[in-house]
Symmetry: C2
Subunit: 339 residues, 2 copies
């Protein structure tokens, strides 16, 4: 995807080989997968402050916007972002259609299945894989392919569909906010078109409420005269870091009242949310539970795995500015619905 | 705004100096400003076909998307697009802040107030005016400025606020569709940020349901450490012609069931809508009422005014493909709420 390609996905793929305070919450039935503690309480306090007409922080229902990063915030992002796995696993099909690719790098290496060799692929090689698997087809073809893959692909650790690896406590937060008239958005560094394929089924979020890294499309006509849109290798929005508030402005056009993330790529989104007047909820998921999920930081001495990086500096900013850090280990009673 | 700038606005500004079959509708109370006829009936038929669970064309409530062009479809676009008027009228304020502009073209000509000279401004000159008045400020500053202008600016013909010049029959359609669970979107060649300022008040449409020509923003921090977004002279989406279905895919992510336009810039949006399965409503407003509004085409022998062009070819495509042409003269009982 040319020079300005999905840097986020690339950096991610390159990293593949690396492997409470107790307060009484008012209701166990609302967020049943959450342990009582500061994080759960922060969510309750925020909702109460913004939906109570008598509150100084009351927010009109039509203004209630909440944004959620996806990878590492709503579902598992280790050992590799699901979309990158998709791109790599699509290579055989792409090479099947264009046999000349079989003996051309980086496709040759990916087709070999040799993970060690794949781990050494250059950025330029990975760019070619992303371009070949995410662009060049119609938007409908892409949707069909991604949907089909998601129905059969399994996560290597749990041997379950990727779509089963959404965090149950976060699904409860999405529902709780929506029950209180919040419009819930995904704001992801992942591909907008990819996430839209399953966001409805997995998160109850319609396509228009998925903001993500987006490429351009090109309008054209088929032989039958019917119009179609082709996915182009042209980056429109790199929805990471500063690109998140920029993407929120482009796609939503107003500042969120609540923002959830888990990595440095979410920092600016939380800052942008925090800078609004009145009550704003800012939360970061810390992956500190190697037993039930994964443990990575490097904040709090957790391993630095290069995927979903939560730096000590981000941890400091969170503490200093009153953002709430969610400990998966301590704040979540269970991680997945299937547990 | 560099080379790829708002071509639509530019062409528009350059053109400034140029100047039923009767069927019984089932209910007069639903669309009271519409005369009985094929156009009104087409709207009723479409809604009935898509909301009736027994219908073969039934559409789930969560899939009901309707898109509307703005200029010339929802409100008056003659003698000049409101946003272009805004840009020209903002020049004194911009020159007040940057006095050196006062003796520099094209600002000097605009400040002179000489309309004949303004009409002769080059494309490059107009680009400079758009860049100076639409970019370089924070998104909040822009919103405040545009809002203030809209509160006092008057249309030269009716001496009323531009926001009063929304078409009453179309406001009724917006409401009627929303009452039937349709999510209504504006898909405009106009500036997304500009239209968002008043779309809530005028059309009942929230910012996130305004898709328009959009520039990039840049995230930064003020002296107080607070983040802000600056509007940049970088075009992200030229939401005209093929840019409309492309913009719909980017911002909405699914195909509309109903599309309303009035000019060749809406052609692809209607084609894209029409190409979906099941019942789809495709409508074009024809400005054939010089007495109550304006008359322009050049379809049907109406004058070619270069703004909101409705060509004979578009008229042919509409007739051939079963799109409905709305005659303002014959189909609309009244044009404005204030009548």
């Amino acid at each position: 995807m040319k020079r300005r390609a999905f840097i986020w996905l690339l950096g991610a793929a390159a990293a593949w080989p690396l492997s409470a305070r107790a307060q009484m919450a008012t209701s166990d039935s609302l967020l049943p997968s959450w342990n009582d503690g500061a994080a759960k309480q922060a969510i309750f306090d925020f909702v109460r402050a913004t939906i109570d007409r008598a509150s100084a922080s009351y927010v009109l229902p039509e203004d209630r916007i909440a944004v959620f990063d996806q990878d590492g915030t709503l579902w598992v992002e280790h050992p590799m972002y699901t979309q990158v796995v998709y791109c790599l696993e699509r290579v055989p099909a792409v090479a099947g259609k264009e046999p000349k690719l079989r003996n051309v790098e980086p496709f040759k290496t990916v087709l070999s299945g040799n993970r060690e060799a794949m781990a050494k692929l250059s950025m330029r090689g990975l760019e070619k894989i992303l371009a070949a698997t995410l662009t060049g087809m119609s938007v409908e073809e892409f949707k069909t392919e991604a949907k089909k893959w998601l129905e059969t692909a399994k996560h290597p650790r749990w041997n379950r569909s990727y779509t089963e690896l959404a965090y149950q406590p976060m699904l409860e937060v999405l529902r709780y906010l929506r029950d209180n008239a919040y419009k819930t958005y995904i704001v992801t560094g992942g591909g907008q078109d990819f996430v839209r394929v399953y966001a409805g089924k997995v998160y109850g979020i319609p396509p228009e409420q998925v903001v993500g890294t987006a490429g351009g499309t090109k309008y054209g006509y088929g032989k039958d005269g019917k119009p179609f849109l082709t996915k182009e290798p042209k980056l429109i929005l790199n929805d990471n870091n500063a690109g998140k508030p920029e993407g929120i402005h482009l796609m939503i056009g107003r500042r969120p009242y609540a923002a959830f993330g888990n990595s440095t790529g979410d920092r600016q989104m939380l800052e942008w949310t925090a800078a609004g007047a009145g009550e704003r909820l800012k939360m970061l998921v810390l992956h500190d539970d190697a037993a039930r999920e994964y443990a990575y930081g490097p904040a709090q001495g957790l391993p630095d795995t290069k995927i979903g990086v939560f730096t000590p500096a981000l941890y400091e900013e969170a503490k200093k500015d009153g953002w709430t850090v969610i400990s998966m280990k301590n704040d979540w009673k269970r991680i997945f619905a299937f547990e």
